[in-house]
């Protein structure tokens, strides 16, 4: 019966009628290491949330057999008891507690009266770390003294301490340096040799290829293929991940790119706010022509958002950027200065960085240019309303009234309001970070149309997007970012998703085509 340690059969998970997972099958043999691959939004995280009990049994359809018995978990606690341990992309350690305290968090060895049995816990913690070949870690020191690589391994030790039978690692290397990744991969090989079963999720396909026995590819919530690694290579994984034909999701282009370079960013570098040793963006330079739409592609965490935030003066940590507009150096140290100089940015996180929830739709739209409606100190509300109505008409923003709360609008219309706010500043360069995230298909098309129209009027646009199809459908040129470095600069002429994805995944130096 129990050929497989884990069997997931026909898993379907819906969000508001949209099928995020559409009948996925997944089998894992004991002692096997599965590489789960898919593009951003393919459904990998959703699948793992179903498996780990984040979405309780009953909120999805299908069946999970663990060790031959049906698994009907109501919470993460239930799956942990069964021996399924998930290690998330963002580490769940408490920085101020000691290494041993973290490993035993929620699972403490106690003495009578609820006192902590420190000697026992420290001893066991040391044993676990020795097993992982990181015996040099001092278990009584706070976790924050150790870097991301060690912290990742401490998480693994914590999982092993819970007698993990199935270990799920979700993007474990996304915040690690190259040498830390090497250590991690060695540990993974050791664990495999000891018979630990694991599911490894990573965008870094060379890692997947190095340690996994079987590759499972999913796309658009559907299971595409399960193939032994010996029959696969990185190129074939990519082909399976992409495998989608472009359809009519994009409007007809009506603009032509100008000859003149209007914008240039030189030597943009950002340092991680928590770990100043680590560069989130490492010395990227690029140019932009009049009326050009430049797509910036890259995997999650590659530094795309950090790059554009630094250019706009909105990066929260240390950063450097030299920005030139029409041949003159401009100061973009703060968003205020950037906007004055002629830049505008629609940020990625609409809820936290885009809308102001207590202001109404119209007030949100005029926030950046309110001063221009003021006579002495008083806002000329008639003039303001006139401008708001103009923008609402131009962007086809569907709101019954500009006096409605912004939070009452749909995602697409909220996005249009944020876009309108930035367009009202009459920018020369428009930066759009994930402009269609959480936006329905119809509004997406309208936003694309608007972008083309703005480009036709001569505005230059930088668009960051996780959706490769969108990048290829909209951009005149594509920059590919990987691990904070420029990995490619392609003119979008018969450019394929495979080429872009290969560049994003590559470890090599920038290539020019």
């Amino acid at each position: 019966m129990a050929d497989y340690l884990l069997e997931m059969k026909g898993i379907v998970k819906q969000f508001d009628g949209v099928r995020a997972l559409d009948g996925i099958d997944l089998q894992v043999r004991a002692g096997e290491c599965i590489g789960l691959c898919g593009e951003n939004g393919a459904g990998k995280s959703t699948l793992m949330k179903v498996l780990s009990g984040v979405y309780p049994h009953g909120t999805w359809d299908g069946e999970i057999l663990f060790d031959g018995a049906p698994l009907k978990a109501q919470s993460i606690r239930d799956t942990e008891t069964a021996g399924i341990i998930i290690i998330h992309q963002e580490l769940m350690l408490v920085p101020e507690l000691s290494v041993a305290e973290n490993i035993f968090l929620g699972n403490e060895i106690t003495l009578p009266g609820g006192r902590m049995n420190y000697p026992a816990m420290n001893r066991r913690a040391q044993e676990l770390l020795n097993e992982l070949n990181i015996g040099d870690v001092n278990v009584v020191l706070p976790v924050k003294q150790y870097g991301g690589g060690h912290q990742q391994l401490i998480e693994i030790a914590k999982a092993l301490n819970k007698n993990a039978r199935l270990l799920i690692l979700d993007e474990p290397s996304s915040s690690l340096t190259a040498s830390e990744i090497k250590v991690l991969l060695n540990v993974m090989r050791d664990l495999k040799a000891k018979g630990v079963t694991c599911i490894y999720i990573s965008h870094k396909l060379d890692e997947v290829a190095a340690i996994c026995d079987t590759i499972v590819v999913i796309r658009d919530g559907q299971h595409i293929a399960t193939t032994p690694m010996q029959d696969m290579n990185v190129e074939r994984i990519i082909a399976q991940m992409v495998g989608r034909d472009m359809n009519q999701l994009y409007p007809q282009k009506r603009h032509t790119v100008g000859e003149q370079i209007v914008f240039e960013a030189r030597n943009v570098t950002c340092y991680d706010a928590d770990n100043p040793e680590r560069k989130r963006v490492d010395d990227i330079s690029f140019t932009l022509k009049q009326g050009e739409i430049l797509g910036i592609a890259g995997l999650v965490g590659s530094g795309r958002t950090e790059l554009v935030s630094a250019i706009f003066g909105a990066y929260p940590g240390e950063s450097q950027a030299e920005v030139w507009l029409n041949g003159a150096r401009i100061d973009t140290a703060t968003p205020l200065k950037s906007i004055r100089a002629g830049l505008a940015m629609v940020p990625e996180d609409r809820k936290h960085h885009g809308i102001v929830p207590d202001l109404d739709v119209g007030q949100n739209m005029t926030l950046a240019v309110l001063g221009s409606f003021a006579h002495a100190t008083r806002i000329d509300k008639e003039q303001e309303l006139h401008a708001i109505r103009g923008e609402i008409a131009q962007l086809e923003l569907r709101a019954a009234s500009p006096f409605l709360p912004i939070t009452s609008l749909s995602g697409g219309n909220q996005q249009k309001a944020v876009l309108a706010k930035m367009l009202m500043t009459k920018p020369k360069i428009l930066i759009l970070d994930e402009p269609t995230r959480g936006v329905d298909v119809g509004a997406k098309f309208e936003i694309y149309q608007l972008m083309f129209e703005l480009a036709r009027q001569g505005m230059s646009i930088i668009m960051v997007s996780s959706e490769l199809a969108e990048v290829l459908g909209i951009s005149d040129r594509v920059l590919v970012i990987g691990e904070g470095r420029l990995r490619g600069d392609f003119v979008n002429h018969k450019l394929s998703q495979e080429t872009v994805l290969a560049a994003a995944l590559a470890q090599s130096a920038p290539s020019h085509h």
């Binding site: 885009g354 809308i355 929830p357 309110l370 409606f373 100190t377």
Partner: protein, 380 residues
């Protein structure tokens, strides 16, 4: 469904609910005091007492709308009132110059608080807590813990003086005319933009209620001595602050900063300057309140303004200012101050023990915010 409906009604008519609460409180106290509570003399005293909390609450509402808090205002008020008293009593500084110096000190202290919060990123709660101790310490040091008295008659007049009845009537008429003009302009503007007009009877009711309230207030005051000067100041501040919060760029930005600071910053707004400005205004309000307090007591007391910050903050919250910032009104805060002052005054008349007064006020504050939170729930 039904409870949702009630919630909506409540949110829409929050101010009305507060006014009804005040009416209930007043009715209760006049019944208990056999009408003593609603005599012109007592009501005049009541609003004069309220004016100090009210002046501070004006500034505090801006601070809270911007998503900050200032706990130092009670001590700062005491310090600035003390400075006014010392300048007057010890150095015989002329009143206009005295006022100018005290306002200047208030502005500087406020800006200093603002600088610590906005530029050095010290949480305003901590800045306030520090200021609360330090400013009170300075008062005690400067006055040696002694009451500074007697202050000059001119200064006393600021706190205890009255507008003559004729001027009071003129003021009432002027305010009524202003109401008419504002309502008419609002209607005209809505008509021009093709917006739905509120029913004519609604505006008519508004006008009638305003007329009744103004007439009642002016005649009540005139039955005693006239409109108290601090109340006149408070009215002026109400007008000024309402104008700033609803009509100016600065006002709109205060709401934006409090509602979502990051989005506001990314829209190219200097949020630090906004916060600095707000704390500066808060300092000015402390100076005004401090001078009135000294004038009202006719002495500089080292304990003046103790726990004044709590009254002002409570007034804002009772008046519907949101704790997480981004929404609230100045007139709401003043109605909140009136609730607190009414409770204080009524319970004092009934000789209720101080400890009971504190318990009741604490309960009322908690209750008011609970109602606010529960009717707001689901909006986010």
């Amino acid at each position: 469904m039904k409870s949702n409906h009630i919630k909506q009604l409540f949110t829409q008519y929050k101010m009305l609910a507060l006014l009804i609460a005040i009416a209930l409180i007043w009715t209760f106290f006049s019944w208990k005091t056999a009408g003593g509570f609603v005599t012109p003399r007592n009501l005049s005293n009541l609003v004069r007492q309220m004016s100090i909390t009210g002046v501070v609450a004006c500034g505090m509402s801006l601070v809270i709308i911007a998503g900050e808090i200032d706990l130092s205002v009670g001590s700062l008020l005491g310090l600035l009132g003390g400075i006014a008293a010392v300048l007057d009593v010890t150095y015989h500084v002329a009143l206009p110059l005295n006022l100018l110096i005290v306002l200047g000190c208030g502005l500087l202290a406020g800006l200093f608080n603002g600088y610590l919060t906005a530029h050095l990123k010290i949480p305003s709660f901590i800045v306030g807590l520090g200021g609360m101790l330090a400013y009170r310490g300075i008062v005690l040091g400067v006055t040696g813990g002694m009451t500074v008295a007697p202050v000059s008659a001119e200064l006393v007049y600021l706190g205890q003086g009255y507008v003559t009845p004729q001027w009071g009537i003129a003021l009432g008429v002027a305010l009524f005319a202003l109401t008419l003009v504002l309502i008419w302009r609002a209607r005209r503007s809505r008509a021009e933009h093709g917006l739905a007009q509120p029913a004519l009877w609604r505006d008519a009711v508004k006008v009638l209620v305003t007329a009744a309230v103004l007439a009642g207030a002016v005649s009540t005051f005139n039955h005693y001595e006239g409109i108290p000067l601090p109340v006149l100041l408070l009215l002026a501040l109400l007008g000024l602050f309402s104008y700033v919060t609803t009509q100016t760029v600065f006002g709109r930005r205060i709401y934006a900063v409090g509602s979502n600071m990051e989005a506001t910053r990314l829209s190219g707004i200097n949020v630090q300057a906004i916060k600095l400005g707000i704390f500066g205004i808060m300092g000015l309000m402390c100076a005004l309140a401090g001078v009135i307090e000294t004038a009202r007591l006719a002495a500089g007391s080292p304990s003046a303004g103790t726990s004044g910050e709590l009254d002002a903050i409570a007034a804002c919250f009772i008046g519907g200012t949101s704790m997480r910032g981004g929404s609230g009104t100045v007139h709401g805060a003043l109605i909140g101050a009136l609730v607190m002052a009414s409770l204080d005054n009524g319970m004092s008349m009934l000789d209720v023990d101080t400890y009971w007064q504190m318990i009741v006020k604490g309960c009322i504050l908690t209750l008011a915010v609970w109602i606010d939170v529960s009717t707001r729930a689901g909006k986010r």
